[in-house]
């Protein structure tokens, strides 16, 4: 924790800021990319959202009070950015969020940056049928392999509630895949 405080101090000090931000970028770009990509699904959108996320992180660093960990704070920004991006994109195309996600999944098959077969597509289609929170929990637990404690810090939900959400999500996905 002291290390993190020191690191945050370096991020705020104009002299060490650039070097510290480079470290932050190299540490978090991959996990945050996966997190965002799992929400927005295609690479170009994930790239946009990831850039915005880091720009926001940089802008709001001076307001970061340290009451949560840097890790969960950044994940929270990334999640909000990705969800806002999705709802804006849906509105722009006159679609519901669900319809937009289905369309994106259909396009995945032709995406150069997607290397999956039927089961991946089916799993994504099953995920779309879930409520937003359950989707998030499932993706963070199953794909990103985050701990419940970490997810709890990011989403501000108790571990018990997260376990229940994950359990519901798994059940619904299994039902969907079995019947489709």
């Amino acid at each position: 924790m002291t290390d993190e405080k020191e690191f945050i101090a370096q991020l705020l000090n104009p002299k060490t800021q650039n070097a510290a931000f480079q470290i932050l970028l190299s540490q978090y770009q991959k996990p945050l990319y996966s997190h965002i990509r799992n929400i927005v699904l295609n690479h170009d959108d994930a790239d946009d959202v990831l850039q915005n996320t880091f720009v926001k992180v940089f802008q709001y660093l001076k307001n970061f009070k340290g009451e949560s960990k840097l890790f969960s704070w950044m994940y929270r920004i990334a999640t909000n950015e990705a969800l806002t991006f999705l709802s804006q994109k849906a509105k722009l195309n006159g679609l519901t969020s669900e319809a937009l996600q289905n369309k994106t999944i259909d396009n995945l098959k032709a995406d150069t940056y997607f290397d999956g077969d039927e089961i991946q597509i089916k799993l994504q289609k099953a995920l779309v049928t879930l409520p937003e929170k359950q989707q998030l929990v499932f993706k963070m637990k199953y794909f990103e392999e985050l701990k419940y404690e970490e997810i709890s810090e990011i989403l501000g939900t108790s571990v018990g509630a997260l376990k229940a959400s994950y359990h519901h999500a798994v059940k619904k996905i299994e039902l969907y895949v079995t019947s489709n």
Binding site: Q29, Y33, R37, L41, F54, G116, I119, Q120, T178
Partner: protein, 136 residues
């Protein structure tokens, strides 16, 4: 149909890939964007400053209105001060004043001069140099 069980399956990967060397130049891209944003921020900030200065100026002017009003008012002389000045400080004598009177003023004076007979007698009898007045 076989029931699908997630835990019985081998781990399903997302299948998402990134372009080669995407992460190599990602940080440069972000830093470039941050610098661009910082430059863009300046005009908005400046405009805010101008608005702030304008608001401050309006407030100062508003606060000055009562002071200015007071200042101009105090320059206007009230009647009593004017009379005192004319009678004690200036070298205008009553002949100068009389010369300035027009008919209307004279009529006005005439009206004031009309006195009751009794009042007149009282004044005359109480005045010690009535003899002089009569002889004049």
């Amino acid at each position: 149909m076989e029931t699908f069980k997630l835990e019985n399956e081998p781990k399903i990967k997302t299948g998402f890939k990134t372009p080669d060397s995407y992460f190599d130049d990602f940080s440069a891209k972000v830093l470039g964007q941050i610098n661009e944003k910082e430059i863009k921020v300046i005009p908005i900030y400046k405009r805010k400053e101008v608005i702030a200065m304008f608001v401050a100026a309006v407030i100062v002017i508003a606060l000055m209105i009562p002071i200015v009003n007071n200042y101009t008012k105090s320059k206007e002389l009230d009647e009593a001060t004017l009379e005192t000045y004319l009678s004690y400080q200036s070298n205008i004598n009553q002949y100068d004043l009389i010369r300035e009177l027009d008919t209307k003023d004279i009529e006005a004076i005439n009206k004031n001069v009309v006195l009751e007979q009794e009042t007149l007698e009282d004044v005359l009898s109480s005045s010690p140099n009535i003899e002089n007045l009569i002889s004049e």
